[in-house]
Symmetry: C2
Subunit: 564 residues, 2 copies
């Protein structure tokens, strides 16, 4: 393509809100433009990269035997009601009605659509496993779009859905997708860490994020140094160290406690360690249930783990009024006697305690009364839990279950794979296959997603320098940037010869200064720069974008290298 | 691909609402499934054809120098307000609000989006012309979806938008697109008629539909036998033949007329020809303006032409009450004295007459009073028109302006090309380029669309027989259908050899009866059927889907033919 005809000019400045490298470079290079927040135009150069990413994903998915198809974007809302997903407020669903008042949602993911399709066919055990995927536009009504292509409201996702006769067969596919994703990202030059993570609104029991380490990433995760364990902070499991378990249980006593409401105020007043204090958090779920969560004072409560344990979609902190109404007092909450106080107030409370409460003796905490604390509180003896579970946030330095210390990292989530199990097939009528014994059985499912635009931005985050982008070859919009320095006739001939050899080339045929051409070549980042100039004579100056040194070569030699 | 693993089984029956061939065959063959009315799943086979159609369009568009890019699907409604398109009720627009109450429309076409993008760049005359196109999902809230893929509510459209310095340059592009479209459809085996048509909600002054003749098509058009003129019935121009112009103008008289309200009642009562009667139609536009349209009695009023003439978005027939309120009478409407009657009633009326009113002397019509008619009414003498224009529907047999008789035809509209002129660039602020003299000028524009799914269905309409589809090679999901008749090992070898030779092949490796395999091959319609059987020995039975005779050949020979 001739650059004089290319739509999308390079610029020197970026918009104020472009704070991250990929946003800045993709804007300056004329790869993308924002329409409204989180919705982007892909200009010709940007779309070329997007298409190359799509091609890589398609090749690797097809190689696994997965089959491409496509669903409508507008999903009948009724299907989402079959699985209760319209209730999951955490999910940024957009609804729309047509002229006949039929309700639709704009697809965010397509589990229901795929099940609704597959259940129309008489699927037998012989047809399984089956993995169906699509590239289609997805919509998320995100609270805040950010960072150019990193968190969008509208984007193309490759989403795949697999159907299996049983868990064992599913696990083979899960492993296959794990390997395939690793390879897909490798081909784009991205090294991924595979991180256990939270299923969120997707459902199912476990899932993994493919994360590219990056300081600007939103995925916070923990990993051991050797990588044998990696998990999103929302789900990371870790060992609770024992504190004073050899201490004898002392008699519980209530003491006057003129103090502020913070944990530090308690530490100061009683002159006892933070870990000996209880941390009590009163929460309310989407149905109005009140939950008291308790952890050892030096840990924090992990609200995602807590929500899973109490099977809530969304949790919020209780208001001071709500705390008093149930018979407690802000800053002085305690599990001791709490169920009874609630019952007296005509209410119910669910007390959830972290396993860390078993690592300490003689804890101190509030007495559900203003300026009254309890000392020497011991689990089982002084209070009981409705649910005892892992509800604490891991911290850097905590030990993973395998005994190795955890390190905190940040990264960009570029893909994920989900076990769905029977989550959808059990909720949707007729989502069954005929088993070998002739009986009807629900399918065991998984799903697998990759966001294309975010992946594109991640490549730029990883491959750039002060001058611009350095595209890895497989995703570069053009392999070659051919620059004519006032040698247009000669360059034109070389351009044609490259095209005849089926080499992708962007030909800078513009009548502008050499410096501007070089700057653009560096900004746009094609892997090879070829310069035709009087200085080089009949030869061509060849430079890789990723290297500093340039070489003079004959055209024949250049073509040989480029066709490799 | 092995058929045993292909998702999407063939069926013998079709849903009741599948009344047209393409719907039936695409359903039976497992190419598509309906999600909700007008919204379809493309199963693997269907998507393959869709992708081949996309590939052909892309190749031909790229060859013209057009550049692919993509816009978001959700367009800010504000842009559509800039061009007043939210008012054009004829357009089936879907609106949606996001969580911050910002309004969007789901893109039906993308003129505003393209202009909004291009106006951000400092476009100079050197950058023009420029043709930008995309493949993207479009949404139309159609009153009635019909016919499988023929009228959908959600579909992928290739839409292109061109920008020019002046009309002359635009006309070159329009011609180029005309040729390109003809070639695109030819490659798919479709012969298109290029038909003048109505711009509808798109705007601009003229446009052309690419129509494939078909009895089930919704496009009604007229064409001369030699094809030198072809126009949609909504816009077809034709000559009005003179009737009794040599007759002297007689004195107008009002007579008692006890008759019914139809044209036939008038003919009977006065025993005069239908063509001598006036046909008067009272209409109301979207702003409430009342319009009286008048034509010669043997013609009908063309409401699309009428709407253009009075620049209305939507016209409806006036109610009997409205007719009386303005001082007339249903069944006895007449232009004579109508403006005065309306003024007396405190209202305004626009009287629009067809040019055919000049081909008759001494017409008869109502007298705006029940059971009173006027005889010997003559234009200019007895009444005047506010607008005199072409507002009549052509009929088969009428003469085109070139003097040749018109034939009525039906067809499927697979593409269209539009002159937009300054329609968008004049309405949208800053939609300018820098001209050679340094001044800012609005771009002169055109746009060009092809609906992919409808094109796909049209191919099936044209290429099928009683047994199934007969895909033209360029759009076939697979070039070859390889069938093993209990010779799986041999067939497997041949399958691999074909794949190694990069020949697309669907391999029927299923353990089912030969008859069922042959029936599927005929239904699915791959261009070549290869049968491996003990009967054929080491040879392969080769049959083209479009031909009856089969031949035995060696594999080597088969590959030679297929690689052609």
């Amino acid at each position: 393509m001739k650059q004089s005809q290319l739509f999308g000019k390079t610029l020197k400045d970026t918009p104020k809100d472009a704070t991250i490298i990929s946003h800045q470079l993709l804007y300056k290079g004329g790869f993308i433009r924002e329409s409204t927040a989180g919705r982007y135009y892909f200009l010709p150069l940007g779309l070329l990269v997007h298409q190359k990413i799509q091609k890589i994903i398609k090749e690797e998915m097809d190689a696994t035997g997965a089959q491409e198809m496509i669903t409508p974007v507008m999903h009948p809302k009724q299907l989402w009601e079959e699985t209760n997903r319209t209730d999951s407020v955490g999910f940024e669903l957009m609804s729309i009605k047509d002229r006949s008042e039929t309700e639709f949602v704009l697809g965010g993911t397509a589990e229901e659509m795929l099940v609704d399709l597959v259940r129309r066919f008489q699927v037998s055990y012989k047809d399984l496993p089956m993995n169906l995927y699509q590239f289609s536009t997805k919509f998320r009504d995100e609270k805040r779009a950010r960072g150019g292509l990193l968190r969008m409201r509208e984007f193309v996702m490759k989403d795949a859905y697999s159907f299996h006769g049983d868990e064992k067969d599913f696990k083979l596919e899960y492993e296959k997708m794990w390997q395939t994703y690793t390879k897909i990202f490798q081909r784009m030059g991205l090294k991924t860490v595979v991180v256990e993570s939270d299923n969120g609104y997707i459902g199912g029991e476990y899932c993994h994020e493919f994360v590219v380490e990056s300081e600007i990433g939103e995925s916070q995760f923990f990993t051991t140094e050797d990588g044998t364990y990696a998990a999103h902070e929302e789900v990371a499991r870790f060992q609770r160290d024992s504190k004073n378990l050899d201490e004898a249980e002392k008699k519980m006593e209530q003491v006057s406690a003129e103090r502020g409401n913070t944990m530090e105020d308690g530490v100061k007043l009683h002159d006892l360690p933070l870990w000996q204090q209880m941390k009590d958090l009163m929460m309310v779920d989407e149905k109005g249930n009140i939950i008291l969560a308790v952890v050892r004072g030096d840990y924090d409560i992990n609200e995602v783990k807590l929500a899973h344990v109490v099977t809530a979609y969304a949790l919020r902190h209780a208001t001071e009024e709500e705390i008093r109404e149930i018979g407690s007092e802000p800053g002085f909450i305690s599990p001791v006697g709490m169920s009874e106080s609630a019952a007296k107030a005509g209410k119910k409370i669910i007390i959830v305690g972290d396993t860390s409460l078993r690592t300490v003796k003689n804890m101190y905490t509030g007495a559900n009364v203003k300026n009254q604390d309890l000392l020497n509180v011991n689990i089982d003896r002084d209070y009981t839990l409705d649910i005892e579970a892992d509800i604490a946030l891991a911290r850097e330095g905590d030990l993973a279950e395998n005994g190795k210390p955890l390190f905190a990292k940040k990264g960009i989530e570029v893909g994920n794979i989900f076990q769905l199990g029977f989550h959808y097939s059990s909720k949707m009528t007729g989502a069954t296959f005929m088993a070998e014994d002739g009986s009807k059985q629900p399918y065991y499912m998984g799903c697998y997603g990759i966001g294309l635009a975010r992946t594109l931005a991640t490549v730029v985050e990883k491959y750039s320098d002060a001058k611009g982008i350095i595209w890895p070859e497989e995703v570069a919009p053009f392999k070659v940037h051919l620059i004519s320095l006032k040698e247009d006739e000669k360059a034109e001939k070389i351009y044609k010869e490259l095209l005849e050899n089926k080499i992708d080339v962007l030909f800078d045929d513009r009548d502008i200064a050499a410096g501007a051409k070089f700057a653009d070549a560096d900004l746009l980042g094609m892997p090879y720069r070829l310069v035709v100039s009087s200085k080089a004579g009949e030869q061509i100056e060849v430079k890789k974008r990723s290297e500093d040194k340039a070489e003079l070569m004959d055209l024949e030699e250049v073509i040989k290298i480029l066709k490799k």
